[in-house]
């Protein structure tokens, strides 16, 4: 069943066309790796799925609703269902790890404090940083911070998780721990869209590949067919450089 539909999504910055009428469908349980050279609109596409950026034209249908036309209040509600993880983690530096995860539960969802604490701890345990609940983000490693960020998004019980280059800002030795967390998430059946340069992860974990170049997007329903037999010159060039 389609959980998210992208229809003729078009984005221009002035004279620059970043997305050229993208059409795509996300099924429940899909793990989609969005691949492609830098500067081809991968992050822009992801950020337009929860309206952190607005498209120039086109529609994003989530649960039968075009969210490009949703009201401000409607969007606040919709965004709770679309968890997002950023390249630069974006933890709140003025709050402890626990509060980072808890605050949206209490202030956005209105969950009671002790229940929120329990939920937050449960997700911090899941990502393996439950021993750091009382410290501030600045004293965590990059890998730990990103796992807290994942726990923060998961705690809201989203229907889709959006990952925007989650390992690009990490030191190499920390990439593994974050990918492991994401892999576990995929195995649990979470619907995920991941902008990434981690080819190994895409190959093993993704169920579909969206390959982007110069604002165009080609969807591959089978990762194997993308990696072994990409029938476009652009994709071949890209893979030649990455592998």
């Amino acid at each position: 069943m389609a959980i998210l539909e992208i229809k003729n999504l078009h984005k221009e910055y002035g004279k620059n066309t970043v997305l050229k009428s993208i059409n795509a469908t996300v099924e429940e349980g899909d793990v989609i790796a969005i691949l492609g050279p830098s500067g081809t609109g991968k992050s822009t596409l992801l950020r337009e799925l929860n309206m952190l950026e607005y498209p120039t034209s086109g529609a994003v249908i989530f649960e039968d609703q075009d969210i490009t036309k949703a009201s401000e209040a409607g969007l606040d509600k919709i965004r709770q269902d679309l968890g997002m993880v950023f390249q630069s983690f974006n933890l709140f530096p003025n709050m402890t790890v626990l509060d980072n995860v808890k605050i949206a539960l209490t202030k956005v969802k209105g969950i009671a404090d002790d229940e929120a604490t329990a939920t937050a701890k449960q997700f911090l345990e899941k990502v393996g940083v439950v021993d750091k609940v009382d410290v501030y983000p600045a004293s965590l490693s990059g890998g730990q911070q990103q796992r807290v960020a994942i726990a923060r998004a998961l705690a809201m019980n989203p229907k889709i998780m959006l990952f925007d280059e989650p390992t690009s800002a990490l030191d190499p030795e920390m990439v593994g721990e974050v990918l492991k967390t994401m892999r576990e998430l995929a195995q649990e059946g979470m619907t995920m869209l991941v902008v990434t340069h981690e080819m190994g992860f895409a190959r093993e974990v993704a169920s579909k590949i969206w390959f982007m170049s110069d604002g165009d997007m080609t969807a591959y329903d089978n990762p194997v067919s993308f990696f072994e037999n990409p029938n476009s010159e652009r994709a071949q060039n890209f893979l030649a450089k990455m592998l």
Binding site: R79, Q80, L91
Partner: protein
């Protein structure tokens, strides 16, 4: 904008209406012989005569300490009290700089001005003068060693002279020399310039010259007879105070001119020459001034912050009108000197019928001014928080205002606090500007001490040291505080 212009026009029209109806009444009354006028009415109603003066002009009016308390004394003041007594009301002295006096009497800030002021045709067009109660010659005060050099009018044509700005002496100085005249606000400043030989002479009333001669033997009075000779001191009133004028003239004749005034002058000179150590006599002024300065800065920054937050939020808001209003306010305030803003608040409140004290007017001007700077500090502090913070919060479903409250503001405060501390230091220093409307802060008290002690330089040094201790102390405290903030960044956050 349009709305404001309309309001302004209405204000002007209303003013015109009041004026014309006032004139009409005036005409009616002349027929029946007037019994009162608006100023006299106000004096009777409030039960007090508010006297404006510039107390740096011994022995006319100056500060002294009596039992450790500051007091404005002088024969002008004694005369003013006598006038109050004869009118059957209390007398209240209000101090401000000499060039603010005419404005104050015209707007009704004060009922009369008694400040050794001489009638001139230009002034007479603006205000009413009583008959002169004291006639004094003007002389040129010089340094003793140069006395020979400036002993005739012919020689004086080549002298560089100083005089109090917009005073009668200023006019005379312009007449008798071909050189450019140095016009300064305070007699003490002029005498300082003379001391340092920046000017060759100071044109002053002979009574004042005499007091300088008694204080120090380095001065001399040029024997040259100045033209225009005498300047009579008159009581100054609003143009509308016609009945008051005749009453004051009668009081002057019956109770002041002649022997009583002579006694007042003797008393004043005696007070002036009272010997006491500098510290015990003048330290209360510096203490009081320092407290006022700190008070002004605290009020200025506190309300400045409240108003500044409002303007910062307006400027950051997506509503165009708010944005525009806030920007306009900030640019306007930052583009106009604080001195002018202080005068606008002081006289402006009076013009629209609000009677507020000079301290309040000064404090209001300070925080209206500070708000513009604080708004910019807050705005830049908020904008310095990375966009990623907003994106993370919004992606979790936080509303715009929740994001501001829980994520942005707590982080912005770390950027804002140190800059606010600097603003506090700035406000302490800029507070000196409100001395012009007679707020008794440090700079004001300094000129009081300069005037009363005939020591132009020492009080300045003392004041500089006090300002330095205040500002340096606060900056050190802020540094410590900042270090602590940064430390918590490392260990905790």
């Amino acid at each position: 904008m349009n709305k404001w212009i309309k309001k302004l026009i209405m204000l002007v029209m209303a003013f015109g209406l009041v004026m014309s109806s006032g004139m009409g009444m005036l005409n009616m009354h002349t027929v029946n012989a007037e019994e009162t006028d608006p100023t006299l009415e106000r004096i009777k109603k409030s039960g007090k005569l508010v006297v404006g003066t510039s107390a740096d002009y011994a022995p006319y009016e100056f500060h002294t300490t009596e039992h450790g308390k500051d007091k404005i004394v002088g024969f002008d003041i004694e005369a003013a009290r006598e006038i109050g007594k004869q009118l059957g009301v209390k007398t209240e002295i209000q101090e401000m700089s000499f060039d603010a006096l005419l404005g104050a009497v015209k707007t009704g800030k004060v009922d009369v001005v008694v400040a050794g002021m001489t009638e001139t045709p230009e002034r007479a067009e603006e205000v009413n003068f009583s008959k002169p109660y004291f006639v004094d010659k003007n002389v040129v005060l010089t340094l003793k060693q140069n006395k020979e050099k400036w002993s005739t009018l012919k020689q004086i044509r080549q002298a560089k002279l100083a005089a109090q700005v917009s005073s009668k002496q200023d006019d005379i100085a312009h007449d008798i020399t071909d050189k450019k005249v140095v016009s300064l606000k305070k007699i003490t400043d002029e005498v300082t310039q003379l001391n340092q030989e920046k000017v060759d002479g100071v044109v002053v009333a002979s009574t004042t010259a005499k007091s300088y001669l008694e204080q120090s033997d380095q001065f001399a009075v040029s024997p040259a007879k100045l033209p225009g000779i005498s300047n009579g001191s008159s009581v100054v009133m609003n143009k509308n105070a016609t009945v008051l004028q005749s009453k004051v003239n009668k009081i002057l004749d019956d109770h002041i001119i002649g022997e009583p005034l002579q006694k007042m002058q003797d008393d004043a000179i005696e007070l002036m020459n009272k010997k006491e150590s500098f510290v015990s006599k003048y330290s209360p002024y510096f203490v009081k001034g320092t407290l006022y300065t700190i008070g002004l800065a605290v009020i200025g920054v506190f309300f400045g912050i409240i108003l500044g937050i409002l303007f910062a939020l307006m400027k950051l808001s997506s509503i165009k009108v708010f944005k525009w209003l806030a920007s306009a306010y900030i640019e306007a305030v930052r583009g106009v000197p604080l001195l002018i803003q202080v005068f606008i608040v002081y006289f402006g409140t009076q013009a629209i019928g609000l009677h507020i004290s000079s301290f309040l007017a000064g404090a209001i001007a300070m925080f209206l001014n500070s708000a513009a700077y604080v708004a910019e500090i807050i705005r830049s502090g908020i904008q310095a928080v990375p966009d990623g913070q907003t994106e993370a919060a919004r992606s979790l479903g936080f509303t715009k205002s929740q994001t501001m409250r829980y994520m942005i503001l707590p982080q912005a405060i770390k950027n804002i606090l140190p800059a606010l501390g600097n603003e506090f230091v700035t406000v302490i220093k800029e507070g000196s500007v409100v001395s012009v409307i007679g707020v008794g802060e440090l700079t004001f008290q300094t000129s009081v001490v300069q005037g009363a002690s005939f020591k132009p330089f020492i009080p300045l040094i003392i004041t500089a040291v006090i300002y330095f201790i205040l500002t340096f102390g606060i900056s050190r405290l802020l540094n410590l505080f900042e270090k602590k903030l940064r430390k918590s960044d490392k260990t905790l956050g």
